[in-house]
Symmetry: C2
Subunit: 221 residues, 2 copies
Amino acid sequence: MGADPNGFKPHIARVEKKLTGQSPETAEKPETPALKRLRADAQRNRDKLVEVAAQAFAADGVDVSLEDIAKRAGVGIGTLYRHFPTREHLVEVVYRREVEGLCQAAEELARDHPADVALELWMQRFVDYIATKRGLATSLRLLLSTNSTLFSDTSGRVSGAMRRLVEAAAAAGKIRADVDASDVMHALGGIYSAPNTPDWRERSGRLVKLLMDGLRFGARG
Amino acid sequence: MGADPNGFKPHIARVEKKLTGQSPETAEKPETPALKRLRADAQRNRDKLVEVAAQAFAADGVDVSLEDIAKRAGVGIGTLYRHFPTREHLVEVVYRREVEGLCQAAEELARDHPADVALELWMQRFVDYIATKRGLATSLRLLLSTNSTLFSDTSGRVSGAMRRLVEAAAAAGKIRADVDASDVMHALGGIYSAPNTPDWRERSGRLVKLLMDGLRFGARG
DNA sequence: TAAATAAACGGAGGCGCCTCCGTTTTAGTG
DNA sequence: CACTAAAACGGAGGCGCCTCCGTTTATTTA
Protein backbone atom coordinates (compact mmCIF):
# COMPACT_ATOMS: atom_id res chain seq x y z
CA MET A 1 0.00 0.00 0.00
CA GLY A 2 2.91 2.30 0.65
CA ALA A 3 5.68 2.44 -1.91
CA ASP A 4 4.11 0.67 -4.78
CA PRO A 5 5.15 2.26 -8.02
CA ASN A 6 2.45 1.67 -10.50
CA GLY A 7 1.34 -1.32 -8.53
CA PHE A 8 -2.18 -2.57 -8.71
CA LYS A 9 -3.27 -4.73 -5.85
CA PRO A 10 -6.57 -6.25 -6.70
CA HIS A 11 -7.85 -7.32 -3.30
CA ILE A 12 -10.94 -8.27 -5.10
CA ALA A 13 -13.50 -10.93 -4.74
CA ARG A 14 -16.61 -11.02 -6.74
CA VAL A 15 -19.89 -12.04 -5.31
CA GLU A 16 -23.44 -11.82 -6.48
CA LYS A 17 -24.02 -13.46 -9.83
CA LYS A 18 -26.40 -16.31 -9.89
CA LEU A 19 -25.13 -18.11 -6.82
CA THR A 20 -28.52 -19.73 -6.93
CA GLY A 21 -26.98 -22.71 -8.57
CA GLN A 22 -26.05 -25.97 -7.08
CA SER A 23 -22.53 -27.20 -7.01
CA PRO A 24 -20.67 -26.82 -10.27
CA GLU A 25 -19.29 -30.25 -9.65
CA THR A 26 -20.52 -33.70 -10.52
CA ALA A 27 -18.48 -33.96 -13.67
CA GLU A 28 -14.89 -33.55 -12.67
CA LYS A 29 -13.59 -37.07 -12.87
CA PRO A 30 -14.24 -38.93 -16.10
CA GLU A 31 -15.10 -41.95 -13.98
CA THR A 32 -18.59 -40.59 -13.48
CA PRO A 33 -20.43 -42.05 -16.43
CA ALA A 34 -23.43 -39.78 -16.01
CA LEU A 35 -23.76 -36.18 -17.07
CA LYS A 36 -22.00 -35.29 -20.27
CA ARG A 37 -18.54 -36.48 -21.05
CA LEU A 38 -16.25 -33.66 -21.96
CA ARG A 39 -14.33 -33.79 -25.16
CA ALA A 40 -10.78 -34.98 -24.57
CA ASP A 41 -9.19 -31.58 -25.08
CA ALA A 42 -11.78 -29.91 -22.90
CA GLN A 43 -11.15 -32.31 -20.06
CA ARG A 44 -7.44 -31.81 -20.39
CA ASN A 45 -7.77 -28.04 -20.26
CA ARG A 46 -10.15 -28.17 -17.37
CA ASP A 47 -7.86 -30.35 -15.32
CA LYS A 48 -4.91 -28.14 -16.08
CA LEU A 49 -6.85 -25.07 -15.05
CA VAL A 50 -7.84 -26.56 -11.72
CA GLU A 51 -4.29 -27.70 -11.14
CA VAL A 52 -2.84 -24.28 -11.89
CA ALA A 53 -5.56 -22.48 -9.97
CA ALA A 54 -4.90 -24.57 -6.87
CA GLN A 55 -1.24 -23.62 -6.97
CA ALA A 56 -1.99 -20.00 -7.72
CA PHE A 57 -4.56 -19.62 -4.96
CA ALA A 58 -2.21 -21.21 -2.47
CA ALA A 59 0.74 -19.10 -3.52
CA ASP A 60 -0.85 -15.72 -4.16
CA GLY A 61 -4.29 -15.80 -2.56
CA VAL A 62 -7.70 -16.08 -4.14
CA ASP A 63 -7.33 -12.71 -5.76
CA VAL A 64 -4.84 -13.68 -8.39
CA SER A 65 -5.74 -12.54 -11.83
CA LEU A 66 -7.81 -15.08 -13.69
CA GLU A 67 -6.09 -14.08 -16.88
CA ASP A 68 -2.87 -15.07 -15.20
CA ILE A 69 -4.24 -18.47 -14.34
CA ALA A 70 -5.42 -18.96 -17.88
CA LYS A 71 -2.06 -17.95 -19.21
CA ARG A 72 -0.16 -20.21 -16.85
CA ALA A 73 -2.43 -23.06 -17.83
CA GLY A 74 -1.74 -22.34 -21.46
CA VAL A 75 -5.32 -21.61 -22.44
CA GLY A 76 -7.23 -18.52 -23.44
CA ILE A 77 -9.25 -16.54 -20.95
CA GLY A 78 -12.38 -17.57 -22.82
CA THR A 79 -11.69 -21.19 -22.06
CA LEU A 80 -11.36 -20.47 -18.40
CA TYR A 81 -14.67 -18.68 -18.34
CA ARG A 82 -16.42 -21.40 -20.26
CA HIS A 83 -15.43 -23.93 -17.66
CA PHE A 84 -15.87 -21.69 -14.66
CA PRO A 85 -18.40 -18.94 -15.23
CA THR A 86 -17.38 -17.09 -12.10
CA ARG A 87 -14.34 -16.88 -9.92
CA GLU A 88 -16.34 -18.57 -7.19
CA HIS A 89 -16.96 -21.62 -9.33
CA LEU A 90 -13.26 -22.07 -9.74
CA VAL A 91 -12.56 -21.51 -6.07
CA GLU A 92 -15.22 -24.00 -5.16
CA VAL A 93 -13.85 -26.72 -7.39
CA VAL A 94 -10.36 -26.22 -6.06
CA TYR A 95 -11.66 -26.28 -2.54
CA ARG A 96 -13.57 -29.49 -3.06
CA ARG A 97 -10.55 -31.05 -4.64
CA GLU A 98 -8.45 -30.25 -1.63
CA VAL A 99 -10.99 -31.60 0.78
CA GLU A 100 -11.03 -34.73 -1.29
CA GLY A 101 -7.27 -35.00 -1.02
CA LEU A 102 -7.45 -34.62 2.71
CA CYS A 103 -9.96 -37.43 2.99
CA GLN A 104 -7.99 -39.73 0.74
CA ALA A 105 -4.94 -39.08 2.85
CA ALA A 106 -6.89 -40.42 5.81
CA GLU A 107 -7.38 -43.73 4.06
CA GLU A 108 -3.77 -43.99 3.04
CA LEU A 109 -2.48 -43.14 6.47
CA ALA A 110 -4.82 -45.69 8.00
CA ARG A 111 -3.36 -48.33 5.70
CA ASP A 112 0.26 -47.47 6.29
CA HIS A 113 0.45 -46.76 10.01
CA PRO A 114 -0.76 -47.91 13.41
CA ALA A 115 -4.16 -46.43 14.09
CA ASP A 116 -3.04 -43.86 16.63
CA VAL A 117 -0.12 -42.70 14.51
CA ALA A 118 -2.41 -42.43 11.52
CA LEU A 119 -4.74 -40.23 13.51
CA GLU A 120 -1.94 -38.00 14.68
CA LEU A 121 -0.39 -37.66 11.26
CA TRP A 122 -3.73 -36.88 9.77
CA MET A 123 -4.43 -34.20 12.31
CA GLN A 124 -1.07 -32.64 11.56
CA ARG A 125 -1.97 -32.67 7.93
CA PHE A 126 -5.28 -31.13 8.76
CA VAL A 127 -3.43 -28.31 10.44
CA ASP A 128 -1.30 -27.81 7.34
CA TYR A 129 -4.42 -27.69 5.31
CA ILE A 130 -6.08 -25.12 7.53
CA ALA A 131 -2.90 -23.06 7.43
CA THR A 132 -3.22 -22.55 3.70
CA LYS A 133 -6.85 -21.62 4.11
CA ARG A 134 -6.39 -18.95 6.73
CA GLY A 135 -5.26 -16.36 4.24
CA LEU A 136 -8.30 -16.91 2.14
CA ALA A 137 -10.58 -16.93 5.12
CA THR A 138 -12.72 -13.96 4.17
CA SER A 139 -13.57 -15.10 0.69
CA LEU A 140 -13.91 -18.68 1.71
CA ARG A 141 -16.20 -17.86 4.55
CA LEU A 142 -18.31 -15.85 2.16
CA LEU A 143 -18.41 -18.72 -0.26
CA LEU A 144 -19.30 -21.21 2.43
CA SER A 145 -22.01 -18.96 3.78
CA THR A 146 -23.68 -18.43 0.43
CA ASN A 147 -23.39 -22.02 -0.63
CA SER A 148 -24.68 -24.23 2.12
CA THR A 149 -24.39 -27.35 -0.01
CA LEU A 150 -20.68 -26.82 -0.25
CA PHE A 151 -20.44 -26.44 3.48
CA SER A 152 -22.41 -29.49 4.40
CA ASP A 153 -20.76 -31.62 1.74
CA THR A 154 -17.24 -30.82 2.74
CA SER A 155 -17.65 -30.70 6.47
CA GLY A 156 -19.43 -34.01 6.26
CA ARG A 157 -16.60 -35.56 4.29
CA VAL A 158 -13.94 -34.26 6.63
CA SER A 159 -15.62 -35.17 9.87
CA GLY A 160 -16.44 -38.58 8.41
CA ALA A 161 -12.78 -39.18 7.65
CA MET A 162 -11.80 -38.15 11.13
CA ARG A 163 -14.49 -40.29 12.72
CA ARG A 164 -13.19 -43.32 10.93
CA LEU A 165 -9.66 -42.69 12.16
CA VAL A 166 -10.78 -42.12 15.72
CA GLU A 167 -12.96 -45.17 15.82
CA ALA A 168 -10.29 -47.36 14.29
CA ALA A 169 -7.76 -46.17 16.85
CA ALA A 170 -10.22 -46.75 19.67
CA ALA A 171 -11.11 -50.20 18.37
CA ALA A 172 -7.44 -51.09 18.17
CA GLY A 173 -7.01 -50.02 21.76
CA LYS A 174 -4.51 -47.35 20.77
CA ILE A 175 -6.53 -44.57 22.29
CA ARG A 176 -9.09 -44.54 25.03
CA ALA A 177 -12.41 -46.00 24.07
CA ASP A 178 -14.63 -43.37 25.55
CA VAL A 179 -13.93 -40.54 23.13
CA ASP A 180 -16.43 -39.12 20.76
CA ALA A 181 -15.04 -38.25 17.35
CA SER A 182 -17.06 -35.08 17.27
CA ASP A 183 -15.33 -33.90 20.44
CA VAL A 184 -11.97 -34.31 18.77
CA MET A 185 -13.26 -32.51 15.71
CA HIS A 186 -14.47 -29.73 17.89
CA ALA A 187 -11.15 -29.41 19.67
CA LEU A 188 -9.41 -29.21 16.36
CA GLY A 189 -11.91 -26.66 15.17
CA GLY A 190 -10.52 -24.25 17.71
CA ILE A 191 -7.40 -23.78 15.66
CA TYR A 192 -9.41 -22.46 12.80
CA SER A 193 -10.51 -19.43 14.71
CA ALA A 194 -7.37 -18.99 16.75
CA PRO A 195 -5.67 -15.62 16.49
CA ASN A 196 -3.30 -15.12 13.62
CA THR A 197 -0.07 -14.83 15.59
CA PRO A 198 3.19 -15.75 13.89
CA ASP A 199 3.55 -18.78 16.11
CA TRP A 200 0.17 -20.10 15.12
CA ARG A 201 1.67 -23.05 13.33
CA GLU A 202 3.70 -24.24 16.32
CA ARG A 203 0.87 -23.77 18.70
CA SER A 204 -1.44 -25.79 16.54
CA GLY A 205 1.14 -28.52 16.37
CA ARG A 206 1.36 -28.55 20.13
CA LEU A 207 -2.39 -28.66 20.36
CA VAL A 208 -2.45 -31.80 18.25
CA LYS A 209 0.22 -33.44 20.36
CA LEU A 210 -1.64 -32.51 23.50
CA LEU A 211 -4.81 -33.89 22.12
CA MET A 212 -3.07 -37.14 21.25
CA ASP A 213 -1.63 -37.46 24.73
CA GLY A 214 -5.08 -37.04 26.13
CA LEU A 215 -6.43 -39.61 23.77
CA ARG A 216 -3.73 -42.15 24.48
CA PHE A 217 -4.07 -41.78 28.22
CA GLY A 218 -5.98 -44.71 29.56
CA ALA A 219 -5.86 -46.69 26.35
CA ARG A 220 -6.01 -50.44 26.65
CA GLY A 221 -2.89 -50.97 24.58
CA MET B 1 -28.17 -12.38 -19.76
CA GLY B 2 -29.89 -13.40 -22.97
CA ALA B 3 -30.09 -10.82 -25.71
CA ASP B 4 -27.70 -8.24 -24.51
CA PRO B 5 -25.84 -6.74 -27.42
CA ASN B 6 -22.57 -5.51 -26.13
CA GLY B 7 -24.06 -5.22 -22.70
CA PHE B 8 -21.94 -5.38 -19.64
CA LYS B 9 -23.70 -6.22 -16.45
CA PRO B 10 -21.34 -5.63 -13.60
CA HIS B 11 -22.94 -7.72 -10.87
CA ILE B 12 -19.94 -6.85 -8.89
CA ALA B 13 -19.31 -6.21 -5.30
CA ARG B 14 -15.91 -5.76 -3.89
CA VAL B 15 -14.94 -7.09 -0.54
CA GLU B 16 -11.66 -7.65 1.21
CA LYS B 17 -9.57 -4.49 1.46
CA LYS B 18 -8.72 -3.38 4.91
CA LEU B 19 -12.15 -3.94 6.43
CA THR B 20 -10.19 -3.93 9.63
CA GLY B 21 -11.16 -0.34 10.09
CA GLN B 22 -13.86 1.06 12.21
CA SER B 23 -16.72 3.00 10.81
CA PRO B 24 -15.75 5.60 8.25
CA GLU B 25 -18.23 7.89 9.89
CA THR B 26 -17.94 10.37 12.74
CA ALA B 27 -17.46 13.34 10.49
CA GLU B 28 -20.51 13.56 8.30
CA LYS B 29 -22.44 16.41 9.81
CA PRO B 30 -20.52 19.62 10.38
CA GLU B 31 -22.25 19.87 13.74
CA THR B 32 -19.71 17.48 15.20
CA PRO B 33 -17.02 19.86 16.40
CA ALA B 34 -14.47 17.13 16.88
CA LEU B 35 -12.38 15.40 14.27
CA LYS B 36 -11.26 17.58 11.41
CA ARG B 37 -13.52 20.03 9.70
CA LEU B 38 -13.58 19.54 6.00
CA ARG B 39 -12.88 22.42 3.72
CA ALA B 40 -16.07 23.94 2.40
CA ASP B 41 -15.72 22.54 -1.10
CA ALA B 42 -14.80 19.13 0.22
CA GLN B 43 -17.86 18.99 2.44
CA ARG B 44 -20.05 20.09 -0.45
CA ASN B 45 -18.69 17.41 -2.71
CA ARG B 46 -18.92 14.75 -0.08
CA ASP B 47 -22.54 15.55 0.65
CA LYS B 48 -23.39 15.56 -3.01
CA LEU B 49 -21.71 12.21 -3.50
CA VAL B 50 -23.65 10.61 -0.67
CA GLU B 51 -26.86 12.09 -1.98
CA VAL B 52 -26.29 10.85 -5.50
CA ALA B 53 -25.06 7.47 -4.33
CA ALA B 54 -28.18 6.95 -2.23
CA GLN B 55 -30.35 7.58 -5.26
CA ALA B 56 -28.19 5.47 -7.51
CA PHE B 57 -28.06 2.49 -5.16
CA ALA B 58 -31.80 2.61 -4.71
CA ALA B 59 -32.47 2.90 -8.41
CA ASP B 60 -29.87 0.61 -9.91
CA GLY B 61 -28.57 -1.54 -7.09
CA VAL B 62 -25.28 -1.42 -5.26
CA ASP B 63 -23.40 -2.40 -8.36
CA VAL B 64 -23.74 0.84 -10.24
CA SER B 65 -20.52 2.13 -11.62
CA LEU B 66 -18.71 4.39 -9.20
CA GLU B 67 -17.53 6.45 -12.12
CA ASP B 68 -21.17 7.01 -12.92
CA ILE B 69 -21.86 8.22 -9.44
CA ALA B 70 -18.92 10.57 -9.57
CA LYS B 71 -20.06 11.90 -12.90
CA ARG B 72 -23.63 12.39 -11.75
CA ALA B 73 -22.34 14.20 -8.69
CA GLY B 74 -20.25 16.41 -10.90
CA VAL B 75 -16.90 15.44 -9.43
CA GLY B 76 -13.93 13.46 -10.66
CA ILE B 77 -13.50 9.83 -9.82
CA GLY B 78 -10.47 10.75 -7.78
CA THR B 79 -12.59 12.85 -5.48
CA LEU B 80 -14.96 10.00 -4.89
CA TYR B 81 -12.13 7.69 -3.97
CA ARG B 82 -10.54 10.23 -1.67
CA HIS B 83 -13.73 10.45 0.33
CA PHE B 84 -14.64 6.78 0.14
CA PRO B 85 -11.63 4.55 -0.32
CA THR B 86 -13.76 1.54 -1.14
CA ARG B 87 -17.21 0.89 -2.47
CA GLU B 88 -18.12 -0.49 0.91
CA HIS B 89 -17.28 2.75 2.63
CA LEU B 90 -19.72 4.54 0.44
CA VAL B 91 -22.39 1.91 0.88
CA GLU B 92 -21.94 2.03 4.60
CA VAL B 93 -22.31 5.79 4.81
CA VAL B 94 -25.43 5.71 2.69
CA TYR B 95 -26.82 2.91 4.79
CA ARG B 96 -26.17 4.74 8.02
CA ARG B 97 -27.77 7.85 6.63
CA GLU B 98 -30.90 5.95 5.77
CA VAL B 99 -31.12 4.37 9.16
CA GLU B 100 -30.75 7.84 10.59
CA GLY B 101 -33.62 9.06 8.45
CA LEU B 102 -35.77 6.21 9.62
CA CYS B 103 -35.11 7.06 13.25
CA GLN B 104 -35.76 10.74 12.75
CA ALA B 105 -39.02 9.88 11.09
CA ALA B 106 -40.00 8.13 14.28
CA GLU B 107 -39.59 11.33 16.25
CA GLU B 108 -41.51 13.39 13.74
CA LEU B 109 -44.35 10.92 13.55
CA ALA B 110 -44.53 10.83 17.32
CA ARG B 111 -44.89 14.59 17.36
CA ASP B 112 -47.52 14.82 14.66
CA HIS B 113 -49.81 11.89 15.37
CA PRO B 114 -51.53 9.98 18.14
CA ALA B 115 -49.14 7.43 19.55
CA ASP B 116 -50.74 4.36 18.00
CA VAL B 117 -51.04 5.98 14.59
CA ALA B 118 -47.43 7.08 14.81
CA LEU B 119 -46.40 3.52 15.51
CA GLU B 120 -48.39 2.13 12.63
CA LEU B 121 -47.15 4.74 10.18
CA TRP B 122 -43.62 4.13 11.26
CA MET B 123 -43.93 0.40 10.79
CA GLN B 124 -45.26 0.97 7.32
CA ARG B 125 -42.30 3.16 6.62
CA PHE B 126 -40.06 0.49 8.00
CA VAL B 127 -41.53 -1.90 5.49
CA ASP B 128 -40.85 0.56 2.68
CA TYR B 129 -37.33 0.83 3.87
CA ILE B 130 -36.81 -2.91 3.99
CA ALA B 131 -38.29 -3.16 0.53
CA THR B 132 -35.51 -1.08 -0.95
CA LYS B 133 -32.96 -3.15 0.89
CA ARG B 134 -34.11 -6.54 -0.26
CA GLY B 135 -32.49 -6.17 -3.64
CA LEU B 136 -29.18 -5.39 -2.09
CA ALA B 137 -29.52 -8.12 0.46
CA THR B 138 -26.47 -10.12 -0.55
CA SER B 139 -24.01 -7.29 -0.47
CA LEU B 140 -25.55 -5.72 2.55
CA ARG B 141 -25.55 -8.95 4.46
CA LEU B 142 -21.91 -9.35 3.60
CA LEU B 143 -21.17 -5.85 4.76
CA LEU B 144 -23.09 -6.32 7.98
CA SER B 145 -21.39 -9.61 8.67
CA THR B 146 -17.90 -8.26 8.17
CA ASN B 147 -18.54 -5.07 10.08
CA SER B 148 -20.09 -5.87 13.38
CA THR B 149 -19.94 -2.29 14.56
CA LEU B 150 -22.18 -1.27 11.74
CA PHE B 151 -24.63 -3.96 12.65
CA SER B 152 -24.82 -3.21 16.33
CA ASP B 153 -24.95 0.54 15.78
CA THR B 154 -27.78 0.48 13.34
CA SER B 155 -29.86 -2.26 14.82
CA GLY B 156 -29.55 -0.51 18.15
CA ARG B 157 -30.73 2.77 16.69
CA VAL B 158 -33.68 1.21 14.93
CA SER B 159 -34.90 -0.91 17.77
CA GLY B 160 -34.46 2.05 20.09
CA ALA B 161 -36.70 4.16 17.90
CA MET B 162 -39.30 1.45 17.80
CA ARG B 163 -39.12 0.91 21.54
CA ARG B 164 -39.85 4.56 22.15
CA LEU B 165 -42.89 4.46 19.89
CA VAL B 166 -44.22 1.31 21.48
CA GLU B 167 -43.73 2.57 24.99
CA ALA B 168 -45.30 5.92 24.21
CA ALA B 169 -48.34 4.22 22.70
CA ALA B 170 -48.61 1.91 25.67
CA ALA B 171 -48.26 4.78 28.11
CA ALA B 172 -50.97 6.69 26.31
CA GLY B 173 -53.25 3.70 26.58
CA LYS B 174 -53.52 3.42 22.82
CA ILE B 175 -52.20 -0.11 22.76
CA ARG B 176 -52.17 -2.83 25.36
CA ALA B 177 -49.71 -2.28 28.12
CA ASP B 178 -48.26 -5.75 28.30
CA VAL B 179 -46.29 -5.78 25.07
CA ASP B 180 -42.59 -5.93 24.84
CA ALA B 181 -41.07 -3.74 22.16
CA SER B 182 -38.62 -6.43 21.26
CA ASP B 183 -41.48 -8.79 20.48
CA VAL B 184 -42.87 -6.31 18.01
CA MET B 185 -39.43 -5.86 16.53
CA HIS B 186 -39.11 -9.55 16.19
CA ALA B 187 -42.46 -9.90 14.49
CA LEU B 188 -41.46 -7.23 12.04
CA GLY B 189 -38.15 -8.90 11.51
CA GLY B 190 -39.97 -11.77 9.88
CA ILE B 191 -40.68 -9.69 6.82
CA TYR B 192 -37.01 -9.29 6.21
CA SER B 193 -36.51 -12.94 5.54
CA ALA B 194 -39.88 -13.59 3.97
CA PRO B 195 -39.82 -15.11 0.49
CA ASN B 196 -39.48 -12.75 -2.40
CA THR B 197 -42.89 -13.23 -3.95
CA PRO B 198 -44.36 -10.42 -6.02
CA ASP B 199 -47.03 -9.78 -3.40
CA TRP B 200 -44.43 -9.34 -0.69
CA ARG B 201 -45.28 -5.68 -0.31
CA GLU B 202 -48.98 -6.26 0.28
CA ARG B 203 -48.39 -9.09 2.63
CA SER B 204 -46.03 -7.04 4.69
CA GLY B 205 -48.60 -4.27 4.85
CA ARG B 206 -51.18 -6.73 6.06
CA LEU B 207 -48.77 -8.03 8.63
CA VAL B 208 -48.34 -4.54 10.03
CA LYS B 209 -52.09 -4.02 10.19
CA LEU B 210 -52.55 -7.34 11.86
CA LEU B 211 -49.88 -6.52 14.34
CA MET B 212 -51.55 -3.21 15.13
CA ASP B 213 -54.90 -4.89 15.65
CA GLY B 214 -53.30 -7.23 18.08
CA LEU B 215 -51.63 -4.37 19.86
CA ARG B 216 -54.77 -2.29 20.10
CA PHE B 217 -56.82 -5.16 21.41
CA GLY B 218 -57.26 -4.77 25.10
CA ALA B 219 -55.92 -1.23 25.24
CA ARG B 220 -57.21 1.02 28.02
CA GLY B 221 -58.24 3.85 25.73
C1' DT C 1 -10.02 -42.07 -44.96
C1' DA C 2 -12.76 -37.97 -45.99
C1' DA C 3 -16.50 -35.01 -45.05
C1' DA C 4 -19.65 -33.07 -41.85
C1' DT C 5 -20.95 -31.38 -37.56
C1' DA C 6 -20.81 -30.31 -32.98
C1' DA C 7 -17.76 -28.82 -29.35
C1' DA C 8 -14.25 -26.15 -27.79
C1' DC C 9 -10.88 -22.61 -28.28
C1' DG C 10 -8.90 -17.99 -27.52
C1' DG C 11 -8.20 -13.29 -27.78
C1' DA C 12 -9.79 -8.69 -29.06
C1' DG C 13 -12.45 -5.23 -27.17
C1' DG C 14 -15.41 -2.77 -24.10
C1' DC C 15 -15.99 -1.53 -19.54
C1' DG C 16 -15.18 -0.59 -14.56
C1' DC C 17 -11.74 -0.21 -10.82
C1' DC C 18 -8.36 2.45 -8.60
C1' DT C 19 -3.94 5.13 -8.21
C1' DC C 20 -0.98 8.78 -9.06
C1' DC C 21 0.26 13.33 -9.59
C1' DG C 22 0.06 17.91 -11.89
C1' DT C 23 -3.39 21.66 -11.34
C1' DT C 24 -6.78 24.38 -8.87
C1' DT C 25 -9.09 26.20 -4.84
C1' DT C 26 -9.56 27.48 -0.12
C1' DA C 27 -8.28 29.45 4.24
C1' DG C 28 -5.15 31.71 6.74
C1' DT C 29 -1.61 35.71 7.36
C1' DG C 30 0.64 40.25 6.82
C1' DC D 1 -6.00 42.73 -0.84
C1' DA D 2 -1.93 39.86 -2.14
C1' DC D 3 0.50 35.84 -0.97
C1' DT D 4 1.27 31.21 0.48
C1' DA D 5 0.81 26.66 2.27
C1' DA D 6 -2.20 23.15 2.68
C1' DA D 7 -6.12 20.83 1.08
C1' DA D 8 -8.73 19.19 -2.47
C1' DC D 9 -9.59 18.31 -7.22
C1' DG D 10 -9.95 15.34 -11.36
C1' DG D 11 -8.78 12.64 -15.10
C1' DA D 12 -5.35 9.93 -17.64
C1' DG D 13 -3.60 5.49 -17.59
C1' DG D 14 -2.76 0.85 -16.26
C1' DC D 15 -4.94 -3.25 -15.09
C1' DG D 16 -8.42 -6.98 -14.50
C1' DC D 17 -13.08 -8.64 -15.66
C1' DC D 18 -15.98 -10.83 -18.86
C1' DT D 19 -18.43 -11.43 -23.38
C1' DC D 20 -18.74 -12.30 -28.09
C1' DC D 21 -17.79 -14.56 -32.15
C1' DG D 22 -14.67 -16.09 -35.94
C1' DT D 23 -11.43 -20.06 -36.06
C1' DT D 24 -9.78 -24.58 -34.86
C1' DT D 25 -10.23 -29.35 -33.43
C1' DA D 26 -12.27 -33.70 -31.85
C1' DT D 27 -15.65 -36.98 -32.97
C1' DT D 28 -19.07 -39.11 -35.78
C1' DT D 29 -20.76 -40.76 -40.08
C1' DA D 30 -20.49 -42.43 -44.72
